[in-house]
């Protein structure tokens, strides 16, 4: 009997939420956003979109720099002689240059200074290229001044050629290409999402408890169902909403990325990102796709996604259960949302501490602080997610999950007692003393 009633409650809590327009919209639109975040940067990378063949006028008073200015499809450097910068600036609109570059005559130390003018903001890429080219010109000019024989050959030989690969290895001697940035990003995003979702769905439970209390329907319902069952039904109902939403998000995002990716001819990029699913921040991808794609791909494949996704769901579920039972108790203790401020503090505090610990953890995943943060149940969902990509020993995972489960059971028991008394109390806002007394009624 009890079980079937709790399932009736779960079904209602689930149905009223998934039928809401706001739920349907966020569930369907968020994957579009995720997908856009993944696809758009690589689109930009592929069609790195500025107009081609823009001209940049160079007034080279040093006489040595111009040959070093390297044009490409996007920007063409054009030497201008016989006209000063002032005249060019005056005539800028008619001449149709994208930018003006003025190079001073060589000074006593054989250095030059560079000045640029443009109407549109010059991008980092172009600025960097001008600086590099000018430096190169000056450097070679200076070297030439020493009259070293076979200079060209020497320069080629001393050109440094260092490539760096970072490996982690485990007891079995398996080596993995390690990319700390990826692990950091995964840890950061996963634990931030956990924090956000616990907060979001936990306060959903709290608001719903307050609603039942203010509408007084709770008085009717407690005469049919035990308060603890009502509370658990609500918590599990909202949890099923959350899991449904995650599931749809993951499936849709992968679907959109794959379809859009192949439609736009971004096969490689799309695959990379499909593998990375939603865990990798965009800058990382574009940066690496442009440069050393191989090492990055290898590193991406070195990440255990199944483990991360499973842990994400487990830690979200357990962390949510723990916190939402506290949220439910707070909801039961007050008459309206405005009164929650003071009582909600012990809930938000550990959550925020967990978030701060996470900021430390994703840089120092194996420190003592990170270890304890990932065992203490109030912070472990966030902190453990920050560690997981780096690889966590099984016994630590088991310990962390075990402690979390036990704490949830204890917390559900205590919250149930507060809830049972609180839902039938109106009027005066209870203080900590009263709530402590409720535990003993």
């Amino acid at each position: 009997m009890g079980k079937s009633k709790i399932s009736v409650i779960i079904a209602r809590e689930f149905a009223i939420r998934v039928k809401k327009k706001s739920f349907i919209l966020t569930t369907l639109l968020t994957p579009l956003l995720f997908a856009a975040l993944m696809v758009v940067p690589s689109l930009i990378a592929v069609y790195s979109g500025n107009e081609e063949g823009q001209q940049v006028a160079v007034v080279d008073e040093s006489g040595i720099v111009m040959p070093y200015m390297q044009s490409d499809a996007e920007f063409e450097f054009v030497a201008v002689e016989g006209q000063g910068m002032d005249e060019l600036k005056k005539d800028f609109d008619n001449l149709g240059y994208f930018a003006l570059v003025g190079i001073s005559p060589l000074d006593s130390a054989k250095n030059v200074s560079v000045v640029t003018y443009s109407k549109k903001q010059m991008n980092m890429d172009l600025k960097g290229r001008i600086t590099r080219n000018v430096e190169e010109a000056v450097e070679e000019y200076k070297l030439k001044g020493y009259d070293i024989p076979q200079l060209a050959q020497i320069m080629e030989e001393i050109q440094p050629q260092v490539s760096m690969m970072t490996y982690t290895f485990d007891e079995k001697g398996e080596e993995k290409v390690s990319k700390v940035e990826i692990f950091m990003a995964i840890g950061y995003i996963a634990s931030f999402l956990i924090y956000m979702f616990i907060f979001m769905f936990g306060s959903m439970v709290m608001r719903s408890v307050i609603e039942e209390k203010t509408t007084r329907i709770i008085e009717v319902i407690v005469s049919s169902v035990k308060p603890f069952q009502i509370m658990m039904g609500k918590i599990l109902g909202v949890a099923s909403v959350a899991l449904t939403q995650f599931f749809i998000w993951i499936v849709f995002t992968l679907l959109i990325v794959t379809v859009a990716g192949s439609a736009l001819g971004l096969n490689d990029a799309a695959q990379t990102m499909a593998v990375a699913s939603s865990e990798i921040p965009v800058e990382e991808i574009t940066k690496v796709v442009e440069s050393d794609g191989d090492g990055f791909l290898q590193a991406l494949k070195g990440v255990n996604y199944i483990q991360i996704i499973v842990c994400f769901v487990v830690y979200f579920a357990l962390g949510y259960l723990l916190y939402s039972s506290m949220f439910a108790a707070v909801g039961a203790a007050v008459d309206n949302e405005a009164d929650t401020q003071q009582l909600i503090f012990p809930i938000t505090m550990p959550l925020i501490i967990g978030l701060f610990l996470m900021l430390h953890t994703f840089q120092y995943p194996d420190s003592a602080l990170s270890f304890w943060g990932s065992v203490i149940p109030f912070t472990s969902p966030m902190v453990m997610m920050a560690r997981i990509a780096y690889g966590v020993p099984a016994w630590e995972l088991a310990l962390s999950i075990g402690v979390l489960v036990l704490t949830f059971v204890a917390m559900a028991y205590l919250s149930g007692k507060i809830y049972r008394v609180g839902i039938l109390m109106y009027g005066k806002k209870p203080g900590w003393k009263e709530i402590y007394k409720w535990l003993k009624y």
Partner: protein, 302 residues
């Protein structure tokens, strides 16, 4: 043996005693008035019967056996502070509440349709509760309280929020439910409806049971044994040999009205037999105290 028997039920909240060793018996098939001023402990007792709260000590029997958790399905409870989910549709919500009482969706739908027809509110099924007026919502609440055909119905201020037409409708339904064998606990401050509807009552004040018993017995017990005689004429009443003394005697709507104090052991037949000799009697009745007066007297004295 009544449907509910409480023996020595005590409930404390911290240092505050909400119920102090209350014992009472609620007879089956009756309408039982549960009376008392605000804060007396009525709601606590109702919650104990509903198994929302557990007593600290004492025993609660339901149909002669210690009450079990599944008894909630045989009880219907209309709390004084009552509400519905605002955003939920009326029909869906009523089915939800019925399922929590152990009914199947099919059963509940059939029952509800019947009640909606009876109350003439078929058009409300797909309305959201927030679109209903307070009185309309009260009707839905009444229906959801009784739809699972409970053996015991607990109504806390069932008439509040209704206009006179609907008060009458609810009153009729309560009496019909009693006819059908339902026991009803009626908690109200409206003493007229107690006199009119209740067979027995219990009065609780400051956590203690003050009195319980049949309404008529209690009224007689607290009466001062007066009778009222209305008669035609202009002369003062002629009590002749009747075993009474005159308390008052004055003009009353074109007739005269005398209140007489009856001597102990005198029967109405004897009094009337004497009175009728010298007076043109229009009406004669025992003067019972109003429940309202008894309530005030008991509460202020205790």
């Amino acid at each position: 043996m009544g449907i509910i028997t409480c023996s020595n039920i005590t409930k404390k909240f911290g240092k505050f005693t909400a119920l102090n060793s209350v014992s009472l018996d609620i007879p089956k098939g009756e309408i039982f008035g549960l009376l008392g001023p605000n804060g007396a402990g009525k709601t606590t007792l109702i919650r104990i019967i509903n198994q929302i709260t557990l007593p600290d000590s004492g025993e609660l029997l339901f149909n002669g056996a210690p009450i079990r958790p599944d008894a909630v399905e045989c009880i219907g409870y209309l709390p004084e502070e009552r509400g519905l989910y605002k955003k939920m549709k009326v029909g869906e919500q009523a089915i939800y509440l019925a399922r929590l009482k152990g009914m199947s969706t099919k059963e509940a739908t059939a029952q509800l349709k019947e009640w909606f027809v009876k109350f003439g509110i078929q058009g409300w099924w797909d309305k959201k509760v927030e679109e209903l007026s307070k009185g309309m919502a009260q009707k839905i609440q009444f229906i959801t309280t009784v739809m699972h055909k409970p053996q015991l119905l607990i109504l806390d201020e069932p008439f509040s929020g209704f206009d006179p037409v609907n008060v009458n409708l609810i009153r009729k339904e309560i009496l019909a439910l009693k006819e059908a064998g339902t026991t009803i606990i009626l908690s109200t401050h409206n003493m007229e409806s107690v006199e009119e509807l209740c067979d027995s009552i219990a009065l609780i004040n400051k956590s203690n049971l003050v009195i319980t018993g049949k309404v008529d017995d209690i009224r007689r017990q607290y009466g001062n044994n007066h009778v009222e005689v209305i008669y035609r004429g202009i002369q003062p009443v002629d009590v002749a040999m009747a075993p009474v003394t005159v308390v008052s005697d004055e003009e009353f709507k074109g007739n005269r009205r005398a209140v007489l104090d009856v001597q102990k052991g005198a029967t109405s037949a004897r009094i009337l037999g004497e009175l009728i000799k010298g007076n043109d009697i229009v009406s004669y009745q025992e003067l019972m105290p109003r429940m309202n007066d008894i309530f005030i007297k008991l509460v202020t004295n205790s």
